[in-house]
Subunit: 132 residues, 2 copies
C-alpha cells in the first residue's frame, strides 16, 4: 500500500499543515455529489475531520467511502492541492476532544462542540492528488 | 421548474457575485469523487464555468451531470454556501471569449486561454443549496 508520504507532494504539504479550510466532497446515495468547507488535520498518514454520526456526509461515506479534498493557498490562489482518498475508519469522539483540538488549530480555542455525544473522527486515507 | 432565484438564498447571493473561488465537485466514472477550485460566474439562472472538452471534469459531467459548488467568505470563513445542481448544457467557446471574461472578473485581464480551441462553457443549473 502506498503511504501518505508517497501520495502527498512534499512541496504542497504546507497546504495540509496550515489551518486552511478544505472543501470536502462526498457522493450521496442517489449518485449526486456534495461539498462543504471543513476543518481538518493531517497526521502524516490520514486526513482527519470532525463530524457527527447523524449527518449527511457520514451517511454518504458509509455507503461510498470515496472522498476528495480541495485546498487552495490564500496567499497564491492559483496554487492548490486536491487530495482524493477513501474513508479508512471512524473513531468515536464522545467528549468532543478532537473537535476542541481542531478548534484550537483554527483559532477557536473557546469553541465547544454543539453535539459532543454524536461526535466522530473521520480518517481519510489519501490515494491520489492533483495540483497546480 | 424552480428558478435559480428561488434556489439561491438572497442573503448569500453575494458569494456568487463576488470573484471568489468555487470548489467544484463532480463524480468520476468509477463512482469516486473529485473537487478543484474554479473560476465561475452566476448569470442569475446558471452558474457558468470555463473548461475544456478534453479534461476529466468534462468526461465526468457527460457521464453524470451532478455537480456541487462550495464557496466560503474569506471575510467570515464560517459563512459558506453550497450549491448543488446539474449540468444543463454546454456551449463551445472556440475563441476563448468567456475564458477572457472570467479572467477579467478575477483580475487577470491579460490572461489568454492556453487551449482556446477546446474551450467550452459549462452551464450548471442550481437545484438545492446548503448554507451556514
Amino acid at each position: 500500500m502506498t503511504t501518505a508520504d508517497e501520495v502527498i507532494p512534499a512541496d504542497y504539504r504546507d497546504l495540509l499543515e496550515r489551518p486552511l479550510y478544505g472543501h470536502l466532497a462526498t457522493v450521496r446515495r442517489d449518485g449526486t455529489v456534495q461539498v462543504e468547507p471543513m476543518w481538518f488535520e493531517f497526521d502524516g498518514e490520514f486526513i482527519l475531520f470532525t463530524h457527527t454520526s447523524k449527518r449527511q456526509k457520514y451517511r454518504n461515506l458509509m455507503a461510498n467511502p470515496a472522498a476528495a479534498l480541495s485546498v487552495n493557498d490564500p496567499d497564491a490562489p492559483y496554487r492548490f492541492l486536491e487530495v482524493r482518498g477513501v474513508l479508512d475508519h471512524v473513531d468515536l469522539d464522545p467528549e468532543g476532544a478532537f473537535y476542541r483540538q481542531l478548534a484550537r488549530r483554527y483559532g477557536r480555542a473557546d469553541q465547544a462542540p454543539p453535539d459532543a455525544a454524536d461526535r466522530v473522527i473521520l480518517y481519510i486515507r489519501p490515494t491520489a492528488t492533483a495540483k497546480q
